[in-house]
Subunit: 342 residues, 2 copies
Amino acid sequence: MNSKARRAEGGGNLKMRDIARHAGVSPMTVSRALREPSAVSEKMRRKVEAAVREFGYVPNRIAGSLSSNRTNVVGLIVPSIRNSLYASMIQAASDALRANGLHLMIGDSGHRLEDEEALVAAFLAQRVCGLILHNTVHSKRVRKLVEASGIPVIETGNLPDDPLDMAVSYSNFEAARAMTLHLARLGYRKIGFVTLPLRDNDRSEERRRGYFAALSELGRPADGSLVLEAAGGFSEGADALVRLVKAHPDLDAGFFAGEVLAVGALFECQRRGWAVPGRIAIASFDDVDLLRHAVPSVTTLRIPRQEIGKRSAELLVRRLQGAPAERVRVDLGFEIVQRESS
Amino acid sequence: MNSKARRAEGGGNLKMRDIARHAGVSPMTVSRALREPSAVSEKMRRKVEAAVREFGYVPNRIAGSLSSNRTNVVGLIVPSIRNSLYASMIQAASDALRANGLHLMIGDSGHRLEDEEALVAAFLAQRVCGLILHNTVHSKRVRKLVEASGIPVIETGNLPDDPLDMAVSYSNFEAARAMTLHLARLGYRKIGFVTLPLRDNDRSEERRRGYFAALSELGRPADGSLVLEAAGGFSEGADALVRLVKAHPDLDAGFFAGEVLAVGALFECQRRGWAVPGRIAIASFDDVDLLRHAVPSVTTLRIPRQEIGKRSAELLVRRLQGAPAERVRVDLGFEIVQRESS
DNA sequence: CGTTTTTCTGGTATCGCTACCAGCATATGA
DNA sequence: TCATATGCTGGTAGCGATACCAGAAAAACG
């Protein structure tokens, strides 16, 4: 049985007026009964509901959206779907949106501004009713498109200097600075920093700036050879640590800009028999379960990813419900989680 | 500046006929120039492109979809967005779809059939052009809705007995069975099994069946107390292992139905000083990076998650391009990855 | 050069729903 | 009692694109 045949037999392409006819009411009444039941009398509502159930009618939101000039889809663009970091943020956003009848369309920019641009254009073509961008650096065209669209936009992942609209995040700069100072306070004298790729990535840049700012506050020299850039894998973390230690035998702490890097380094220490934190302390970014349960458990920065997703969704929803379009900048902060590894 | 004011100034709500007027052509020519440039003369195309660029025109796909009765959105429902397992599958699907101009709408069923049902209905209302369901057990209404819709559907996560349409997966039963036999072949005599929650989850059920099938083939008794059900966290894995060992002091191997459980158990062994695999061997499901880099590295089953996402997307695309609607059942298999932990 | 074919362009009629307004009933008040 | 308010329902006119067909322009042919 091919697709056309199946469609013909099913209720898959019934229209509102078919339901209306079967229920003995007008299409408008069906429309209202489905969207705003309170605007319709008990009797009518029952007739409509019965017909809808009987035929398995599924309204056509494409038509509805065109007609009402509203959609219930929010676009979300993250640098990488694969990165589990974003997962808890996405889930929280998804939940909060769904509670308000909104759905999520997800795109993956692969950390490339051109891809972000293409996605924004595609999402605007789909007439998403809002956007969440996990990125605060955008191409000129993205800024223009988004502004022209007039839809509410959330930027997250960092606190932007020049927000498009609303921002919900924490400060990467302050977080990295705080952790570096924390390690110094614990007595570590030579702290290496392993950053994720810096290209087109404001979060990475900010973290590195924070690290250097802390060193400068501590009156320590800003030694560029203490900073290594690494792609985000376990081996890259392990490798970076080994290279840092080789270049600086007196290195006593490593601060990693991502949890995979940190755990990769930790595993490498286990392999080499370097005591953590005896020989070298390890600190990480982001509080994922893995870091809490690793042996030793890893000192890290707790970023409220879930809260970010939730608040982003809530702000969008409020705006869609008519809240005035004012620049909002929510700093959800961070927290240092001191554990065994430092 | 509020949202309405911004909209008014931008090109956000230009229509095709505005572009047509400015380009000095008919709306139909604009439509064609954008969708099928080869069907339009060089001169016209240039005029249209210039006008589109000048005004930053973004076509309205809602209108286009209604008119053409086609959308470019695929719905994807996973049990949990947060679970990073699905991430690589989602990413691969997303990439393959985008290469064909399709976008992904993602929903999260929370392992609940009722939520899956609500999402399927919502996605069908959005008139998605295809569905990918990471689940092969569905409510009656889902089956009816999907069949009536006539759109192509991929089921994945397991090989269904009675597929809705197409299936792309591997066999959980065979995988679990193979690993259990593998452990036995390595000489382990008492193998415990820690399963993820079984409720409404065909994958978990199948894995447990596979484990028991292997034991029976080996002529070993099916001891229910060797099987523990655990939610999927590091502590749950640790806890399950400890309980198993307490109940069966002669347990020499633990097979965990998820990588988080397995690593949680591994960490617990480190904490207690139990040699792995000396005191107890550990095996896991799914080949995530963590398992390869853990110390010791963990024996596991490699499930081709990425390939599953890619193939699913490709099958959908082919069907959308007019391939005949035949039941397709792709078994992408699995692979045992023997590592240090066993 | 006329005729046939091919290539391109534009008008018209939807697509399925909702906004808006008109109209009828019933309720409320003077 | 009539007048006004209120509650519900239905008709009509789009929303902004595309499908389809007709016709004009250009190309190809004998």
